[in-house]
């Protein structure tokens, strides 16, 4: 996250004094061009994805226009396609996931970076990296065989009995649905938040901590009031990484979300997400409008990720400015 260096130094003071050829011979220019090419490839790939998705979804864009985003019927037989339930499901499951994963993940990262003995911290880090590398289909199976029965038999009835007056926790408890998908996603993204946040916290300079301690703050005060705010931008970065993973997750979600394109207030209700419906239906989709509508869903997911990432960056900008004003 701290990659905001301004201009490339080599192109700075010497740029005018030597000829292009001389720089080329010395290798600086070659290195610059090659790395520029690599950097440009990222932009190129992004543009190519957008172009392909845009070109691939001509029919539904012309037929439905913006109604594609507003309507909620998905009917291949009668050529009616609306993306709203899938957008809803994607956003809701990701929100539930972050709601659970952010406090847990950051709390664990603080413990590992600041409070735990170094050996314990390193040992646990090994397990966390291992968790981050588990394939998502395994999390899906874990969801079906462990989370779903627990949700159906224990958690959902308990929530119903205690918080049942809130619309979020009403309706029949199947064990699958938005809440379960959100929980499985949370389990999947917590390792990312812990791992990245821990690294960021560990990279906070020692003198920051020492200064706080020297001023008479307790260990927790130095951690919470000095180290964590110092690392805030990086921690935010770990949350975006988690959000991006949650938005695009396919296998684990499709196995526990119920695959029913529905918009419901209750988190117990089965739903569907964009990535899940594409994975489910693309291979067997026949007819141009149907396949192109699925491609347009891909475009919507891309834009959704883009917008949410933009909003998150805006949030960083605002909070970091406030932070510097304090300092």
């Amino acid at each position: 996250m701290a990659t905001t260096s301004t201009t490339v130094p080599s192109a700075g003071p010497f740029a005018g004094s030597r000829s292009f050829l001389a720089r080329l011979r010395e290798g600086d220019e070659i290195a610059r061009l090659i790395t520029l090419l690599f950097a440009a490839s990222v932009v190129l790939i992004t543009l190519l994805i957008v172009y392909e998705l845009w070109q691939g979804s001509v029919l539904p864009r012309h037929k439905f226009g913006f109604a594609f985003l507003r309507t909620s019927v998905w009917d291949p037989n009668f050529d009616n396609f609306g993306a709203l339930p899938f957008i809803f499901g994607t956003v809701v499951t990701s929100a539930v996931a972050l709601f659970i994963a952010v406090p847990l993940g950051i709390g664990a990262a603080i413990f590992l970076a600041e409070l735990a003995p170094a050996r314990l911290s390193d040992a646990l880090e090994f397990f966390i990296d291992l968790l981050a590398a588990v394939p998502s289909v395994i999390y899906g199976l874990l969801g079906i065989f462990i989370v779903v029965p627990i949700m159906r038999d224990v958690i959902q009835p308990a929530l119903k009995n205690t918080l049942g007056f809130i619309p979020l926790f009403k309706g029949p408890a199947f064990g699958i649905g938005f809440l379960t998908a959100g929980i499985v996603l949370a389990i999947m993204v917590i390792p990312y938040i812990i791992s990245v946040s821990r690294e960021i916290l560990l990279s906070v300079p020692r003198d920051q901590r020492e200064a706080a301690l020297a001023l008479g703050s307790t260990r927790w005060e130095s951690t919470w009031k000095v180290v964590v705010p110092f690392a805030r931008t990086g921690i935010m970065g770990s949350i975006f990484l988690a959000l991006a993973r949650a938005l695009g997750e396919t296998m684990a979600v499709t196995m526990v979300i119920g695959n029913t394109p529905a918009i419901a207030a209750s988190l117990f209700s089965p739903g569907d997400s964009i990535a899940s419906v594409i994975a489910n239906q693309f291979t067997e989709a026949t007819g141009d409008l149907y396949t192109q509508s699925l491609i347009e869903l891909g475009l919507v997911l891309f834009l959704l990720t883009f917008i949410l990432n933009g909003l998150a960056r805006l949030l960083i900008l605002v909070t970091s400015q406030r932070g510097s004003a304090h300092a």
């Binding site: 199947f174 699958i176 695959n259 029913t260 089965p270 489910n280 239906q281 067997e284």
Partner: protein, 342 residues
């Protein structure tokens, strides 16, 4: 060193030429439902005729239709017949038609999980359509208790489970419901995925089976083969003669035999709700999609040779893998139709 390298190069070159001569490689893609039997057939046929190597990718029926239309494979395979638009777009692109050849039969069966009920349930078409339309919502609805005298069906809510992925099994299931219920036909109709009026979606047979097993008072549908191999309980369904028939290899073949006398020349026929006292009503063919013209004569002869073998010796191997074989009437019709491939 150089000499050794030279010799190796020549050896590799010769080997490449030899391999290319020896094996004529034929590529197909499509339905995943018949993939186990197709793999077995292609393997056996390769043993019988080592010069012919048939490769098959189980990418799904939709993919099979797409790829054969685009001409990227030598043959396609599908659990649902191509519709008129799809046939026309093939004809427009290539200038000649594509032909359907039934290979084996499959069926979809209703499976359920009602705590306390171990009896094999009888399902009428009205019951199945009502449940999947979301109109029959309790297990003790008269439409269910009527055909099941002596079974103590509870008053709990029915939880409907369907496939979430596009699938030939869904096509068979919805094709059947469209035939027995006008409301279903007008509201939902048939396809590999549909706009389900109610229920939860499970991914593949495993997903549906898992949800049904885990969720009390659930009902879903799975492929017959999957139910047999996993020893799942499933119900009988009332056929067009009014008999409650349990799906098995012979009752599915009987459905094809019942439909054989009205078989259209292009084999594009649905055999759900087929006539015949012993016919299981939610059955279907699965098809190979073969172009009627080949520019490469050796490929044409290889594919025709394979289909001939498949219709004779190949049919004897289906039941070991729990596929129902084709009735004799259909086999002889297909042998005649094979002459259309040129």
């Amino acid at each position: 060193m150089k000499r050794i390298a030279g010799i190796l190069l020549i050896a590799f070159g010769l080997a490449a030429v030899f391999v290319a001569r020896a094996a004529l490689s034929i590529n197909g893609a499509g339905a995943s439902f018949p993939e186990p039997i197709y793999s077995k057939w292609f393997d056996e046929y390769h043993k019988k005729d080592p010069n012919i190597q048939i490769n098959y990718q189980a990418i799904g029926s939709g993919g099979g239709i797409k790829q054969i239309t685009e001409g990227t494979v030598d043959f396609g395979a599908s659990d649902g017949p191509m519709n008129d638009d799809q046939l026309k777009s093939f004809q427009d692109k290539h200038g000649f038609p594509v032909l359907h050849f039934p290979t084996v039969l499959g069926a979809a069966v209703p499976t359920y999980n009602i705590p306390g009920v171990t009896a094999e349930l009888n399902f009428s078409p009205e019951a199945l359509a009502g449940i999947f339309l979301g109109k029959v919502t309790k297990w003790n609805d008269p439409v269910l208790t009527g055909p099941n005298p002596g079974v103590n069906l509870p008053g709990n809510d029915i939880v409907v489970v369907h496939r979430s992925d596009g699938s030939g099994t869904t096509y068979i299931w919805t094709d059947y419901l469209s035939k027995v219920s006008d409301e279903w036909k007008n509201k939902v109709n048939k396809n590999t995925s549909v706009n389900w009026p109610t229920g939860l979606g499970g991914n593949k047979n495993e997903g549906v089976a898992g949800l049904v097993k885990q969720t009390p008072y659930a009902i879903g549908y799975v492929e017959l083969i999957f139910a047999i191999q996993n020893k799942m309980p499933y119900g009988k369904v009332k056929n067009s003669s009014g008999e409650f028939i349990k799906a098995d290899l012979s009752s599915v073949t009987a459905a094809a035999a019942g439909a054989a006398k009205d078989m259209p020349a292009d084999f594009r026929v649905s055999i759900t709700n087929a006539p015949g006292k012993t016919a299981y009503p939610i059955s279907s063919f699965t098809w190979l999609l073969i172009p009627s013209k080949f520019s490469d004569a050796s490929k044409r002869d290889a594919i025709k040779g394979f289909v001939k073998w498949m219709l004779a010796d190949g049919q004897n191997e289906t039941e070991a893998l729990a596929y129902s074989k084709l009735p004799k009437e259909v086999v002889s019709m297909e042998l005649k139709a094979l002459d259309k491939v040129q």
